[in-house]
């Protein structure tokens, strides 16, 4: 009995505490500033684990060098939640961070609400423009010309391939020769046929065709919706990516396994897949999932040239208490010197070409047989095309990836799958006001 009374009293205490908290939260909604850092001596920053350098953030917490009195405190938000958290706080106009990180495909989803973010040109962004990659800089702008993002990291792409398997199949096997032998996707597919026929263990060319489809699209300046809000996913640039992907499947060159699954890991470490068409950040996943293949991999230019896959931006929200200070923090954190530090510490690929020449980036990687990854990724980063992403990209491209999976895994007729993808995307987009 005694126990019961106690727990009841505690329960009451806890619930009253909850009411207090709820009321406090409600009163917070009325706060005029709306910034999460209101009433403190620092600016607030939201990021997800691995998106920024921990060491530089620790420095900024004590004080940004060269900016007396400027302190920035980062809060780690799980990367799956940060987008909805930022949205929720912006919708509530309360507890909005002064500074946030946005993923490459998320930045565009904020375009319809561009006024929620500060135009960084008004804070003097043009002064540092020549430090950054041109295409990355241009991708920070909304269709109406506001600069709402600041270049954080890039995701230049390359062809990862197994030198040993290429060699055993009698193909060109040194990075320069492979790039010359497979300058186009068509030649890449032809090499894949030889590989599958002649290399021991009959390895597949790719793990699945979704990656190839993605990379061919990223080599195009146009995606699924153009800057005038028109659906262009049924046009030639998408159709070409589709056809080439289906061709790889038809030739039996796809292992038909989803990346990141246990099957994928076992296929990679078991040498069942000979290439990867992906970005610089995939290095760490590969080293993790297939440590036994160390030394066998090499990097070279992607067929038809490189693109950019992933990479992030930083933004200042309109609730930022001190825009000048926030911008000073961005230029400090993302300066060429600090991007170099971030690369060394967190493998964030710099958006500042000046960093690429630094000797610190030219360390040979034993996983790639002593090759220096920067030799491939540096030029790739500089050559990536300027791509326009619309806010509705995800709604538009999901049906295409989905139907491609259906073709690959369930054997659906590619022609029917294409028609279904175009129809589903068009219907979804018309609902969203895209014509």
């Amino acid at each position: 009995m005694e126990h019961r009374t106690l727990s009841r009293r505690r329960l009451l205490g806890v619930s009253l505490g909850g009411v207090g908290g709820a009321l406090l939260g409600l009163s917070g909604c009325g706060a005029s500033s709306g910034s999460a850092s209101a009433g403190t001596d620092h600016l607030s920053l939201w990021y997800w684990k691995g998106s920024l350098s921990d060491k530089l953030l620790a420095t900024a917490r004590r004080g940004v060098p060269g900016r007396p009195g400027l302190k920035v405190r980062g809060s780690q938000i799980p990367d799956s939640d940060i987008d909805s958290k930022v949205r929720t706080s912006l919708a509530a106009r309360a507890y909005v961070p002064d500074i946030t990180v946005a993923n490459s495909d998320n930045l565009a989803t904020f375009f319809p609400d561009e006024n929620e973010f500060l135009d960084l040109r008004e804070l003097g962004a043009e002064k540092v423009r020549d430090r950054y990659l041109d295409w990355k800089w241009k991708s920070c702008f909304t269709p109406s010309g506001r600069m709402i993002g600041f270049p954080l990291d890039a995701g230049p792409t390359a062809l990862y391939y197994r030198r040993d398997l290429f060699r055993q199949a009698g193909l060109a096997y040194e990075p320069k020769d492979v790039a010359e032998a497979a300058p186009t996707w068509e030649k890449f597919i032809a090499a894949g046929k030889t590989l599958r026929a002649k290399a021991p263990g009959r390895p597949y060319l790719v793990s699945n065709i979704g990656n190839v489809f993605q990379q061919i699209l990223l080599q195009s300046t146009r995606q699924f919706v153009d800057a005038d809000n028109r659906f262009i996913g049924d046009q030639q640039h998408v159709r070409r990516a589709w056809d080439l992907s289906v061709e790889i499947l038809r030739q039996g060159l796809s292992a038909r396994i989803t990346d990141g699954t246990p099957d994928y890991n076992s296929a990679m470490s078991g040498s069942r897949v000979a290439t990867m068409t992906t970005a610089v950040w995939a290095i760490y996943g590969l080293k993790d999932s297939a440590p036994k293949t160390s030394g066998a991999w090499r990097l070279t230019t992607l067929p038809d040239g490189p693109g950019n896959y992933g990479g992030s931006y930083m933004t200042l929200t309109r609730y930022c208490r001190d825009p000048e200070a926030g911008f000073a923090f961005l230029t400090w954190l993302l300066s060429p010197e600090n991007q170099l530090k971030s690369y060394q510490e967190m493998a964030l690929f710099p958006t500042t070409p000046a960093s690429y020449a630094d000797p610190a980036m030219h360390t040979p990687d034993p996983f790639f047989g002593g090759q220096q990854p920067i030799d491939v990724f540096g030029p790739a980063a500089e050559k990536a095309p300027v791509v326009y992403f619309s806010p509705y990209e995800e709604s538009a491209n999901i049906p295409f990836f989905q139907e491609l999976t259906n073709v690959e895994m369930l054997g659906k007729n590619p022609e029917r799958a294409w028609r279904d993808a175009v129809n589903t995307a068009a219907t979804t987009l018309s609902r969203l006001g895209v014509s």
């Binding site: 009451l12 619930s15 009253l16 909850g18 009411v19 709820a22 009321l23 409600l26 909805s84 949205r87 929720t88 912006l90 919708a91 989803t109 904020f110 319809p112 609400d113 929620e116 979704g210 990656n211 993605q214 038909r256 396994i257 989803t258 990346d259 990141g260 699954t261 246990p262 099957d263 076992s266 806010p391 995800e394 709604s395 999901i398 990836f401 989905q402 999976t405 259906n406 690959e408 895994m409 369930l410 659906k412 589903t424 219907t427 609902r431 969203l432 006001g433």
Partner: protein, 340 residues
């Protein structure tokens, strides 16, 4: 209701009025109501903020087109019109029912058998009960990751099949493979929970009935189906109703199993693992179509309501006697526990 309409109730109300006035001027007055009202207020305040408001707002939202930040655009019933024409939505409804059927029927049967076994004289009953309940309190995400590797092409499930000379199954890459995998995970999670509910019902059956069955020479199966099942019917129907409500809200299993960076969370090949709630989540929280998601939520509510009414009719139709209040009480308790 009856007292208001009853003419005899009217004078009673008149009598109460002066009484109430005198009470408010009496020592202590209305203030004496304050502490108890304050004591029960936390629930109502929290319920208003986190319960009533979101429900009302989601209904309002279902008539709007909203990306979560900017201005809302009124689209009215058109939202529901779009939804009714959305083939993916109907596919997800069908998937949800298929998965629900594939999981609930074997689960309730297994739970009954387990409860029956637990009820018989076995040693370490307590340990078994704990063991059966553990899957229900394990993190679903962690569990799904484990099942993901069990059902992989080269995983444990296929290794076992090959060991007995069968071909491997595309657990995560074929229509019925996907549905079976998700169903097996649901069975794993809920079978112990339902077994414990059944066990509680079993223990309410007088031991004389079991003894009589034994004296009559019934074996275990006969006892189960002739003695236990008929007497357990209200409990079984309760489990069926709650399993229906849970089953129509399947989400985590599919979401974690088929997460992929390029494809998004679309429920795997052929979208065979796409459930109603997963589609709702994908549209609202991944593609920022909050109005569409809200409309889907209300359609799901309607579907669940229809099924609960059907269940209810089945119950009240077959149990006009004393069992009915018992089941209603059970349902109420379950509802309060789930916060629904």
């Amino acid at each position: 209701m009856a007292t208001v309409l009853d003419p005899a109730g009217a004078p009673a109300a008149d009598e109460r009025r002066p009484d109430r006035r005198s009470r408010s001027t009496a020592p202590g007055g209305r203030r004496r109501h304050v502490p108890p009202l304050l004591a029960i207020s936390p629930f109502y305040v929290l319920f208003a903020v986190f319960g009533v408001f979101p429900v009302v707002f989601s209904l309002y939202l279902s008539f709007q087109d909203w990306d979560g930040i900017g201005d809302m655009r009124f689209v009215g019933l058109q939202q529901y019109g779009w939804l009714l024409q959305d083939s993916v939505f109907w596919h997800s409804v069908l998937n949800t029912f298929e998965i629900w059927f594939l999981s609930t029927v074997p689960m309730l049967f297994l739970a009954l058998v387990l409860a029956f076994l637990l009820h018989s004289q076995v040693r370490f009953t307590g340990a078994y009960r704990v063991a059966y309940f553990i899957p229900n309190v394990t993190s679903m995400v962690a569990m799904t990751i484990v099942f993901g590797s069990v059902f992989a092409q080269s995983g444990l499930a296929n290794s076992a099949l090959r060991a007995i000379g069968l071909d491997g199954i595309g657990w995560l890459s074929s229509e019925w493979g996907i549905k079976s995998s998700v169903s097996i995970m649901i069975i794993w999670r809920w079978v112990g929970y339902n077994a414990l509910i059944f066990l509680a019902g079993l223990q309410a059956i007088p031991t004389e009935h079991f003894e009589a069955a034994r004296v009559d020479g019934a074996n275990s199966w006969q006892t189960l189906f002739r003695v236990v099942v008929p007497q357990l019917r209200p409990v079984i129907l309760f489990a069926a109703v709650t399993s229906t409500i849970n089953g129509l809200q399947i989400f985590t299993e599919s979401q974690v199993l088929f997460q992929s960076t390029d494809v998004g969370t679309t429920g795997g090949p052929g979208q065979e693992g796409m459930t109603i709630v997963l589609y709702l989540w994908q549209k609202a929280f991944k593609e920022h179509q909050f109005g569409y998601g809200a409309a889907m939520g209300w359609l799901l509510f309607a579907i669940i309501a229809v099924f609960t009414i059907i269940n209810w009719r089945l119950v009240s139709g077959s149990d006009r006697d004393d069992r009915r209040p018992g089941l209603a009480g059970l349902l109420r308790r379950k509802g309060a526990r789930n916060g629904r």
